[in-house]
C-alpha cells in the first residue's frame, strides 16, 4: 500500500526551540490513525506543517499518488488538493446558517469568478441535505450556526469537512467537551469516514483513542517515539516514562 501522505525528516524551530525534530510519518489512502503525545510534543505544529500554515526549516512533505510536494503550496491550494482540517475549537461561521456553511464547503470551483456566478442546483441541495442528515443536523439547516450547541458545531464542522470530500482529514481533539452520547456519534463518524479516506486524529483522551481502535503514533519532543496498536505502544517503556515520568 503506497502512502497518501509522506512526511520525511521534517524539522522546525521557533526562536531556537525545536518544535519538530526530524519527524517522519506516513499514512495510507484509507486508514485511521491516532496521534497522541504529551503537551508540547508537536502535534499541532505537525498539523500546521501539513496544512501549509507553518513552513518547516528542513525535510519534505509529499501527498498523493504523484507525490506532490506540499511545501511550495499555499493553505488554500493544499486544501484543494484534498487535505481537510478540523480545529480543536469548533470553527464554523457563526453569522451564517448551517446550510450556508455546508454550501461553502461543498466540493466545487473555488475561484472568485466561478463562485460569483455559482448558483445552487438541485444536486447541490440534495448533497447539503444528505450531509446535514449524516451529521445529525438535518433540522438545523436554516438556523444560524452561532445558535448551535458546542457538540452540534463540532458535527457541523465535520460535515463541512465531508463536504470538501478530502482524501486526508486532520482532526484535532474532536471529542473535547462532548457528552458521552456525542462522543459515541463522533467515533462512528470517524470510523466511517476512514473507510474511504485517510483520517488522522490528534487526541489526548486515551479512552477515546481506544474506541477508535486503530494504529497509534506517539509523538514526543517533536519526533516519533513509538508506533503501533494502542496496547503495543502503552507497553513501550519509553512511552510510559514520558507520560508517567512527566505527569
Amino acid at each position: 500500500m503506497s502512502a497518501l501522505l509522506e512526511v520525511s525528516g521534517v524539522s522546525v524551530s521557533f526562536d531556537g526551540f525545536r518544535a519538530i525534530n526530524n519527524l517522519s510519518f506516513s499514512i495510507g489512502p484509507a486508514e485511521l490513525r491516532a496521534i497522541i503525545g504529551p503537551n508540547g510534543a508537536g502535534k499541532t505544529t505537525f498539523m500546521d506543517i501539513v496544512t501549509g500554515k507553518t513552513r518547516p526549516d528542513s525535510g519534505a512533505v509529499t501527498f498523493g499518488e504523484r507525490s506532490v510536494s506540499l511545501l511550495s503550496m499555499s493553505e488554500a491550494q493544499i486544501a484543494r488538493a484534498g487535505i481537510g482540517r478540523k480545529f480543536q475549537r469548533p470553527t464554523v461561521f457563526e453569522d451564517q446558517t448551517v446550510a450556508e456553511n455546508l454550501t461553502m464547503a461543498l466540493k466545487a470551483h473555488r475561484a472568485p469568478w466561478r463562485v460569483l456566478f455559482w448558483r445552487e442546483g438541485a444536486v447541490d441541495r440534495a448533497r447539503v441535505e444528505a450531509l446535514a442528515a449524516e451529521v445529525g443536523l438535518a433540522d438545523a439547516l436554516p438556523r444560524k450556526s452561532g445558535e448551535l450547541s458546542h457538540g452540534q458545531k463540532q458535527w457541523l464542522e465535520i460535515g463541512m469537512l465531508l463536504a470538501q470530500e478530502p482524501r486526508l482529514l486532520l482532526v484535532d481533539e474532536p471529542a473535547a467537551g462532548m457528552t458521552l452520547a456525542e462522543r459515541e456519534h463522533t467515533t462512528q463518524l470517524l470510523v466511517e469516514m476512514a473507510k474511504t479516506r485517510a483520517v488522522v486524529v490528534v487526541e489526548h483522551d486515551m479512552d477515546f483513542v481506544r474506541r477508535l481502535d486503530c494504529k497509534v503514533t506517539v509523538l514526543h519532543e517533536g519526533a516519533v517515539l513509538a508506533e503501533g496498536s494502542l496496547d503495543h505502544v502503552t507497553k513501550n517503556q519509553q512511552v510510559i516514562e514520558v507520560y508517567l515520568g512527566r505527569g
Binding site: 521557533f14 526562536d15 526551540f17 518544535a19 505544529t45 500546521d48 500554515k53 507553518t54
Partner: protein, 648 residues
C-alpha cells in the same frame, strides 16, 4: 614664483612714500584744477591715482569729501575748500580741516562728480581705509571688498598688506589678496600659484572666486576653432546639444537666417491673402501645417515673403559648423588649475555633504521617534490603535503656547511646559481610555474609528479655541543658532536638543519597562492578560496607566515639535501617518524596532530629498511607496517577533 612676486610688491611699497612726498594733495588739485572741476572718468583717473599715491593724509579727506559732494571751488581764486551747506550759503574749511569762514552760494562751485568718477574715488579710498588706524574700519573694508571684489582693489590691498600689524586681519588680507590674485592678476603664473596655494581649503568664498573662472558659453564657428579661445569641450550636435539648440546658436551668432516661427508664418500668410487664397491655396484649407507650408513656399517663390530656413537647410547649416563650449577666461593654465582645485573641493564637499545629510537624517529620525514613541507604547504594547495620537501631540504643543502666554521667560516656560504638557495629555489619555477604548478592546477596527472621531472633534475644538493661524512656540535664546563644523556641515541647537530628548525618552522607556514594577506588570498584561489578572495584577489599571503614559509622551513630543514647526490644529495630523509608519516599519511591540523604523524613514526621506531637492512632496510620495514595498518583504517590520507567538 609667488615669493618673487611678493618681494616685487614689497619693493614697490618701499619706494612709494619717497615718490609720494614730492607733491602735496593741494598741489595736485591745483595742478589739475580744470580737470577736477569738470572730470571725465577717463581723464581724471591719473589724478585720483596721484592723489591716492601722494601719501599726504589730506588726500584721504579730500577724496572722501569729493565723492560726497563736499568739495567746492571758490570762483574768485580757484581755491579748493571743504564745503558744507548752511542756511544762507556755504560753511568753508580748508583742506586740512581748519575753519575758513563762510561764503555766499553764488561764490562757490560745488563739485559733483558723476557715478563713474565716484567709483574711481571709492576705489582709491580703499587704500586709505585698508590702512586706517582703526582695526574695525580695516575689517569692514575687507568685508566690503570680499563682498564685491574688483580688479582695482588688488593693488591697494597688496599695498596695505606690509603695514598690517593685526595678525588676524593680516591673515584675512593675505587670503583676500590671493582670492583677488587668482581672479584679477594679469600674470597667469601668479594666478595659478594663488589657486594652488589654497590647498585643501573648502571656503565658500574660494568656490565663489573659482566658479566664475570656469564659466563657459556655447559658441558656433565655421571651419576650425577660433584661435585664442580657451575651449572647455567640443560639442557634437545630436549628442551634446540638440539640432534646434545648435541652430539657435547659429542664428544668435548671425551665421544663419532665423527659422520661421508658427506665428510669423501665420502673420505672413494673413498679410498675403488675395481673393480668399494665399499663394494659390484657399484660406479655408489652411488648417494643416502642410497646407500652410505649401502656401508659404508659393509666396517665397513669388518673392512676397523672405526666405525662411527649411528643415533641410537647418540640418545642413548645423552640419557645416562646429560647436564648442568656451571658457570666458582665456587663460588655459588658469582654467586647468581652477578645474583641478574645484574638483578636489567637490570631492571633499561631497563627503561633507554626506555628513551633513546624515546629521539631517538623524535629527529627522529623532523627530519621528519622538512622535512615534507614545504610539509605540499604545499601539505596540497594548495593541490599541489611537488615531487621536496626533491630536495629543497637538495638545502638547498648544499647552506650550499657553504657558508662554503667562511665563515670558522662554527657558522657564519650556521647563514648565514639558511636565504640564505631560500632565494634560496624560489626563486626556486616561479619560479616553476609561470612556471609550476600554469598551472596544478586541475590536481594533472600531477602536481605530472611534479614536478617529475623537481626533476630528479635538482638532475642531482646537481650531475653535486657537483659530486657524499658526501660534508661536518660541525656543529659548540659547537654543538659537547652530553648531557649525564648517561651511558645509552644521546642525541647529534645537535639533540637537530634540535628539537628546529622543535619547532620554529611549532610556526612560527602557528603564520603565525593564526595571520597574509597572513595566513588569505591563509586560505581563501584554503577554497574557488572563494569567496576569490571576496573579493579582489589575489589567484595567495597567491599561489605563499605559495608555496615559503613551499619551503623556505624545504631549511632551508636541512641545518639542512645536519649537520648530508651526503650532496649528493640524500639527498632529501632519505626523500621524509617519508615526504609524515608523511603528509598523520598525516592528510592533519593540522599542528598538521603533528606533530602527525612525532612522530608516528619516534617512530615506532625507536621501530622497537630496536626490530631488526641489520637491519635498515627491520625496514623501516615494517614501510612502517604499514603505508599502518594504512591508511586502518584511510584513512584521525590521525587528520582528518570531516563533509561534507571531503566527496567525
Amino acid at each position: 614664483m609667488r615669493q618673487l612676486f611678493l618681494s616685487l610688491v614689497t619693493a614697490l611699497l618701499v619706494a612709494l612714500p619717497g615718490l609720494a612726498l614730492a607733491q602735496s594733495a593741494v598741489d595736485i588739485l591745483d595742478a589739475n584744477r580744470a580737470l577736477v572741476e569738470k572730470p571725465t572718468r577717463a581723464k581724471i583717473a591719473p589724478v585720483i591715482s596721484e592723489l591716492a599715491a601722494s601719501g599726504d593724509p589730506v588726500a584721504a579727506t579730500v577724496l572722501a569729501a569729493w565723492a560726497e559732494k563736499g568739495l567746492g571751488l571758490r570762483k574768485a581764486d580757484g581755491t579748493f575748500f571743504l564745503i558744507e551747506k548752511t542756511a544762507d550759503g556755504w560753511a568753508l574749511r580748508d583742506l586740512t580741516g581748519a575753519e575758513a569762514g563762510v561764503a555766499a552760494s553764488s561764490d562757490i562751485v560745488e563739485l559733483r562728480p558723476n557715478a563713474g568718477v565716484r567709483g574711481l574715488i571709492a576705489t582709491a579710498l580703499v587704500q586709505f581705509t585698508l590702512s586706517d588706524p582703526d582695526p574695525a574700519k580695516r575689517a569692514a573694508a575687507l568685508v566690503s571688498i570680499a563682498r564685491d571684489p574688483e580688479a582695482a582693489h588688488l593693488e591697494p590691498l597688496r599695498a596695505s598688506l606690509a603695514t598690517e600689524v593685526d595678525p588676524a586681519l593680516k591673515a584675512q588680507k593675505d587670503r583676500l589678496e590671493r582670492l583677488l590674485t587668482l581672479r584679477f592678476d594679469t600674470d597667469s603664473a601668479a594666478r595659478v600659484a594663488a589657486i594652488e596655494g589654497f590647498g585643501s581649503d573648502l571656503g565658500l568664498d574660494l568656490r565663489a572666486a573659482l566658479n566664475p573662472l570656469l564659466a563657459t558659453s556655447r559658441v558656433a564657428y565655421a571651419g576650425d576653432l577660433p584661435g585664442g579661445a580657451n575651449v572647455a569641450r567640443v560639442l557634437v550636435p545630436g549628442a551634446d546639444l540638440s539640432e534646434a539648440e545648435a541652430y539657435d546658436l547659429l542664428v544668435a551668432a548671425g551665421m544663419a537666417p532665423a527659422r520661421l516661427t508658427v506665428e510669423e508664418a501665420r502673420a505672413a500668410l494673413l498679410a498675403n491673402v488675395v481673393d480668399g487664397a494665399v499663394g494659390g491655396v484657399p484660406v479655408a484649407e489652411l488648417g494643416t501645417q502642410a497646407a500652410r507650408d505649401r502656401a508659404y513656399t508659393a509666396l517665397e517663390a513669388a518673392g512676397a515673403v523672405p526666405a525662411a530656413a527649411t528643415d533641410a537647410e537647418v540640418a545642413a547649416a548645423v552640419a557645416a559648423h562646429g560647436f564648442a563650449e568656451v571658457y570666458a577666461e582665456p587663460d588655459a593654465q588658469v582654467t586647468a588649475a581652477a578645474k583641478a582645485a574645484l574638483d578636489g573641493i567637490a570631492l571633499k564637499v561631497g563627503a561633507m555633504q554626506t555628513a551633513d545629510l546624515a546629521l539631517d537624517a538623524v535629527s529627522l529620525a529623532s523627530i519621528y521617534f519622538l512622535a512615534a514613541i507614545g504610539l509605540a507604547i499604545t499601539f505596540g504594547v497594548m495593541r490599541v490603535i489611537n488615531m487621536a495620537h496626533g491630536e495629543f501631540i497637538m495638545m502638547g504643543a498648544y499647552t506650550g503656547y499657553v504657558v508662554q502666554l503667562f511665563i515670558t521667560n522662554y527657558t522657564l516656560s519650556i521647563l514648565v511646559a514639558l511636565p504640564l504638557a505631560f500632565a494634560v495629555t496624560f489626563a486626556a489619555g486616561v479619560a479616553m481610555e476609561r470612556l471609550v477604548i476600554r469598551h472596544l478592546y478586541k475590536r481594533p477596527l472600531e477602536t481605530l474609528l472611534a479614536t478617529f472621531g475623537i481626533s476630528i472633534a479635538l482638532q475642531q475644538i482646537a481650531k475653535n479655541i486657537f483659530g486657524t493661524q499658526a501660534r508661536p512656540l518660541t525656543a529659548p535664546a540659547w537654543l538659537d543658532g547652530a553648531l557649525t563644523f564648517n561651511d558645509v556641515v552644521s546642525i541647529s541647537y534645537i535639533r540637537i536638543a530634540i535628539f537628546v530628548l529622543a535619547m532620554l525618552f529611549l532610556l526612560f522607556f527602557l528603564w520603565l519597562m525593564k526595571r520597574t514594577r509597572l513595566g513588569l506588570e505591563v509586560r505581563a498584561v501584554t503577554q497574557n492578560p488572563t494569567m496576569a489578572a490571576s496573579m493579582g495584577i489589575n489589567p484595567d489599571r495597567i491599561n489605563m496607566l499605559t495608555f496615559g503614559l503613551g499619551s503623556g509622551i505624545a504631549g511632551i513630543a508636541g512641545v518639542a515639535i512645536g519649537l520648530f514647526a508651526k503650532v496649528t490644529s493640524e500639527l498632529g495630523s501632519d505626523y500621524i501617518v509617519q508615526s504609524f509608519m515608523t511603528v509598523v516599519v520598525g516592528g510592533v511591540g519593540n522599542i528598538w524596532g521603533t528606533l530602527a523604523g525612525a532612522f530608516l524613514i528619516g534617512t530615506l526621506q532625507k536621501g530622497i530629498e537630496w536626490l530631488n531637492p526641489s520637491n519635498t512632496l515627491a520625496a514623501q510620495t516615494y517614501m510612502i511607496l517604499f514603505i508599502i514595498l518594504f512591508i511586502q518583504f518584511r510584513p512584521r517590520g525590521i525587528i520582528a517577533l518570531k516563533g509561534r507567538a507571531a503566527g496567525d
